[in-house]
């Protein structure tokens, strides 16, 4: 049973509270994932430490080579940010497609990452950008690439009873770089994706120098189609290559049969289509 809900005024205060409660406290920001869990009576924590109002976590700022996104930035704020739209397009797309307006107005990118769901739209985009997470703990700040943040379904490497995800850094898209997000769901709003993929491509003179493809939900954590990424290196940005990349990605992913989400075969087929379309989309907005 919840005993208290506290509002620290700074990140340090929040960390101190977490330490005080020895694992019995849990961070909350928007609460869109956590509040339904509270309703179910699930979580074993006793105290909420609310960081929603901390201004430091709410910024989106351009640094010299990177973009910093505070963990408290909501999906609506992400969607409406010009910086994100211009410099990290796949994240803009992902933010605009998830949930409903009401959920986007409250859900934060930090909460999205820490909930460690393989289908989380925002997180998938960040995987494609190879984002780096800045985490504050009692011992100071540490940084981990987002690929290391997911341990299992619902299990994050960031412990919300001990540490605070402060923000996310990703490289600003440069000339020759592009990104795209593709999402397929059973209806056009308020639906978890059957399959989604985020793609980042670096190119030079019409040929791909590197690519990152993040797909979910096809396993316990967001999935990087590394073989397909390797295949794309050095290849031209043509429809034929996109088609082949799609097929490779389809072979790489290994979703299980799901009565709700669809069969393994169907979802593998979808992966081929979405990767292909994602690459087409990247081509359309390469800087």
């Amino acid at each position: 049973m919840l005993k208290d809900h506290l509002f620290p005024k700074t990140i340090d205060e929040a960390l101190t509270l977490l330490k005080e409660y020895k694992g019995k406290a849990r961070l909350i920001a928007g609460g869109t994932d956590l509040i339904p869990e509270i309703r179910e009576g699930l979580p074993p924590f006793e105290v909420l430490v609310d960081i929603e109002k901390l201004k430091k976590l709410k910024t989106i700022r351009e640094e010299s080579k990177k973009i910093f996104i505070g963990s408290g930035v909501t999906f609506t704020e992400l969607e409406e940010s010009k910086v994100i739209r211009n410099r990290a397009f796949a994240l803009h797309q992902a933010a605009s497609l998830m949930g409903s307006p009401q959920v986007r107005n409250r859900g934060t990118i930090g909460g999205n990452i820490v909930s460690a769901q393989p289908a989380a739209d925002g997180a998938l985009a960040l995987f494609a950008f190879d984002a780096v997470l800045e985490i504050a703990g009692m011992r100071g700040i540490r940084e981990i690439p987002i690929s290391q943040a997911y341990l299992d379904i619902g299990k994050s490497a960031i412990n919300p009873s001990k540490e605070i995800l402060v923000g996310i850094r990703l490289n600003k898209l440069k000339k020759g770089e592009g990104s795209n997000y593709q999402r397929f769901a059973m209806r056009k709003a308020m639906a978890l994706p059957i399959l989604a993929c985020a793609i980042f491509v670096q190119s030079m003179d019409d040929s791909i120098t590197s690519a990152r493809i993040a797909i979910g939900p096809v396993s316990n954590t967001p999935f990087r189609a590394r073989e397909t990424e390797v295949f794309l290196r050095g290849k031209p940005l043509t429809a034929e290559i996109f088609e082949r990349a799609g097929k490779m990605a389809s072979e790489e992913v290994n979703p299980r049969d799901s009565r709700l989400r669809g069969s393994r075969i169907y979802r593998k087929g979808l992966a081929a289509v979405l990767v292909k379309r994602g690459l087409q989309g990247v081509l359309a907005n390469i800087g």
């Binding site: 059973m186 209806r187 056009k188 059957i194 709700l260 669809g262 169907y266 087929g269 289509v273």
Partner: protein, 760 residues
């Protein structure tokens, strides 16, 4: 006929005004001092013996005021009734069991009830009730359940609840004559009504010990069953129906009423019970899944010769309205077509799935999916246009259905199809993987109840001394303007503006009973009752006015709160003066209109023959879809609904029903399915059970035809259910047009499309 003043005009509904301000109180919006919260403990198995129930811990929890099980229910078993006054036989009454007793029959069946000071305490108490179950063999497939050696769902009763047949001519002869025959098996799933307002009610004992139940319900007449269950006289249970946040047939059965009555009776305190969404999806009735094996034959020129169908519906664990729904399917199974030879065999079968009952369309949407898919399949084989083949076979007024029911009123099918098709306009161009297709489907859906139910409705209308008008009617308003349409009718007849009319609804103690809000019957039945009552008062007033004005009452009319001379003499009399004169002479200024639907008694229920329904509403849906061949995604680009509505009492309301029904049908066609696996619901909330959102809907165009030949007031027909039935097959036919593959089971999921394309 004199021009109508309000009927036919787009007028705001009185309830819409209150709803826009957030003033309307729905069932969960009521609170009473000392109120307790009720909760229901539900079965953990789809089929199990209840070895023991230990409530001792729950009873001792502080704040718990009652814990009840089957042994605490005075009469735990009775029969399901829906306003029928006499025993029907033929499977029309099923077992109604309040709480599971020796066994549980479906997952989610109610096993125990708790009332406590807070919801939280009540929930904790539920967890403290220890039920020992011994799982029993189960059966989940209705076709399997028909076989002799399968587990019996209800001890001592065969799983096959009812078998009906329709026989016309000799089907084998018909198939021999046919030049083409198409045979397919169609399947439709469990779906949920998904009203946004979950089931809810609040009950209390008044000062004389009468059980009062305020509840979101389509049928206040359940007060009789509640009284029987509690072993009380009928006049000591009162049901007050609130304005519903949607019904669609899901609040047609008893939901929370009996639970509330038991808990308030035991505790002596008011008790509120509101289902969570998960509880609603888990435990309330679902639409019947059907397996439909169809064989249809036609001659080369397109004329149908023969139709044979076997229908098997999944009744779930309790009978409820399954035989009724099946009967509707039987009458509708051959569609609105002229077919010399027809044989339909229908079965409804018990399984350990969630029980199934009424859902908008009531057995008609299921068979419409089958027969309208069949029509397009025939068209394909005959290389005929789908519109043409239908026009050749549509029934006309005066002809009969396969059951022998004569279609006594307008049958506007040809017109609805032509107009719907015309409204398509220019075809949207396809692009790359997006293939565009168009399809149509026609439907016939009854309105008004089956005529052997001796359906009646009552409406009390009175005019007050100041000229304002009061209506009291047992009508349950599920959001379709059931209450407001009565006001429109009274306004028309009495010449009083809508603002001066007040309607009180749905109170078994205070309003004359109007019958169920089901079967698209309220406008027809209660509208007519109100019309009768208003006309009585009108006649009284005009007679008196005629005396006062020294004129023949025949030339007088009521308009704008005045008695006017229609022949232009300019003489008039204020309504209030006429009212006062009547009152002073002791003339009644009120009347209870009793409208009786025509009825006949069925002597047997095995073979469905003759008139069963008062009338049908005919219409056609036309759909244009874009199918993404790579992902299987179907987008409905255009959806046109053209219906003969008889007379549009309030065109806004009628359009609203057609638009809403179109999307209700579209959800059925594309995305809705309560997935039950071995009796377990895998779509427990609105995250998994998907309804169309605003971003999924096409622009729905509605085209109203007014033949004036409905049996409702002013020639109106009902549209609430007809608006749904032909949508899914229209979409399915459009998908076929787009990609050349047909899907035989709903919903048309993207995966099914991709799979079908691959297999082509």
């Amino acid at each position: 006929m004199t021009e109508l003043k309000i009927i036919g005009k787009k007028v705001p509904r009185h309830d819409a005004i209150e709803k826009a301000f957030g003033l309307t109180c729905y069932a969960d919006d009521f609170f009473m001092p000392g109120m307790l919260y009720g909760k229901v403990l539900r079965s953990q198995y789809p089929s199990a013996k209840i070895v023991s129930i230990d409530t001792s811990k729950a009873v001792r929890l502080k704040g718990v005021k009652a814990v009840l099980t089957a042994k605490d229910v005075p009469r735990n078993e009775s029969v399901t009734r829906f306003g029928q006054t006499h025993a029907m036989g033929g499977g029309f009454e099923g077992l109604y069991r309040v709480l599971a007793d020796k066994k549980v029959h479906f997952m989610g069946e109610a096993v125990a009830l708790v009332a406590a000071e807070t919801e939280e305490i009540a929930e904790r108490a539920l967890r403290m009730i220890h039920v020992e179950y011994q799982p029993l063999p189960c059966i989940f497939d209705p076709v399997e359940a028909m076989k002799p050696d399968t587990p019996q769902v209800e001890e001592g009763k065969p799983n096959i609840v009812t078998h009906f047949e329709v026989v016309k001519g000799e089907v084998e002869e018909g198939f021999a004559e046919a030049d083409v025959i198409v045979e397919h098996t169609y399947r439709v799933p469990f779906v949920d009504h998904a009203y946004i307002e979950p089931e809810s009610g609040l009950a209390w004992l008044d000062e004389s010990g009468v059980i009062n139940i305020r509840v979101s319900t389509q049928v206040i007449e359940h007060f009789r069953t509640v009284a029987d269950v509690l072993d009380l006289p009928h006049n000591r249970v009162r049901v007050i129906g609130t304005y519903l946040g949607g019904g669609f047939g899901g609040k047609e059965d008893i939901t929370v009423e009996t639970f509330l009555a038991l808990l308030t009776s035991r505790t002596g305190r008011p008790v509120k019970l509101t289902y969570t969404r998960e509880e609603s999806i888990l435990s309330h009735s679902k639409r019947h899944p059907y397996v439909m094996i169809y064989k249809t034959g036609a001659k080369r020129d397109g004329r149908l010769t023969s139709l044979q169908a076997k229908l098997v519906s999944d009744a779930g664990a309790y009978v409820y309205l399954s035989p009724w729904v099946l009967l509707y399917s039987m009458v509708n199974a051959a569609g609105p077509y002229r077919i010399p030879h027809v044989r339909v065999d229908g079965y409804t079968v018990l399984t350990n799935n969630t029980f199934t009952s009424a859902n908008r369309g009531f057995g008609a949407p299921q068979v419409c999916f089958a027969y309208e898919s069949q029509m397009d399949e025939l068209a394909k084989q005959l290389k005929m246009d789908p519109v043409e083949i239908r026009k050749i076979n549509y029934l006309r007024k005066g002809e009969t259905l396969a059951t022998g029911q004569v279609l006594e009123h307008a049958v506007a099918l040809r017109e609805t199809t032509e107009k719907a098709f015309q409204a398509f306009g220019e075809c949207t161009p396809g692009k790359g993987n997006l293939k565009i297709g168009r399809g149509i489907a026609s439907g016939m859906t009854s309105y008004g109840r089956m005529i052997f139910l001796h359906d009646t409705s009552r409406s009390y209308v009175s005019i007050e001394l100041d000229g304002s008008v009061t209506i009291r009617a047992g009508v349950q308003d599920i959001g379709g303007g059931q209450a407001s349409s009565l006001c429109h009718i009274a306004a028309e007849v009495l010449g009083v503006p809508l603002e001066d009319i007040k309607v009180y609804i749905a109170d078994t103690a205070l309003t004359p009973l109007a019958g169920t809000t089901t079967a698209t019957r309220q406008l027809y039945m209660s509208g007519n009752a109100t019309l009768m009552a208003a006309r009585e008062i009108r006649n009284t007033l005009l007679k008196k006015a005629g005396e006062m004005m020294k004129m023949d009452p025949q030339r007088l009319d009521l308009a704008d709160k005045e008695v006017v001379d229609t022949q232009g003499s300019g003489k008039n009399l204020s309504l209030i003066d006429a009212v006062k004169a009547c009152a002073s002479d002791g003339l009644p200024l009120y009347h209870v209109g009793l409208f009786k639907a025509p009825f006949r008694n069925l002597t047997q229920y095995e073979r469905i023959e003759g008139q069963v329904f008062p009338d049908f509403t005919f219409g056609t849906h036309a759909a244009e879809v874009a199918v993404d061949e790579e992902t299987g995604e179907i987008q409905v680009l255009k959806l046109i609904a053209c219906f003969d509505v008889g007379r549009a009492i309030n065109p806004s309301s009628v359009e609203g029903q057609l638009e809403g029904g179109a999307i209700y049908g579209m959800g059925y066609g594309l995305m809705e399915e309560v997935i039950m696996e071995k009796g377990v619901t895998l779509t427990p909330s609105f995250s998994e059970y998907l309804l169309p959102t605003s971003m999924d809907v096409p622009d729905v165009e509605t085209i109203l035809i007014e033949s004036g030949e409905g049996v409702g007031p002013f020639g109106a027909k009902g549209v609430g259910e007809p608006s749904v039935c032909s949508v899914a097959p229209a979409i399915c036919n459009a998908v076929y047009d787009a990609i050349g593959v047909r899907i035989y089971d709903l919903p048309l999921t993207p995966e099914k499309i991709v799979k079908a394309i691959k297999e082509k």
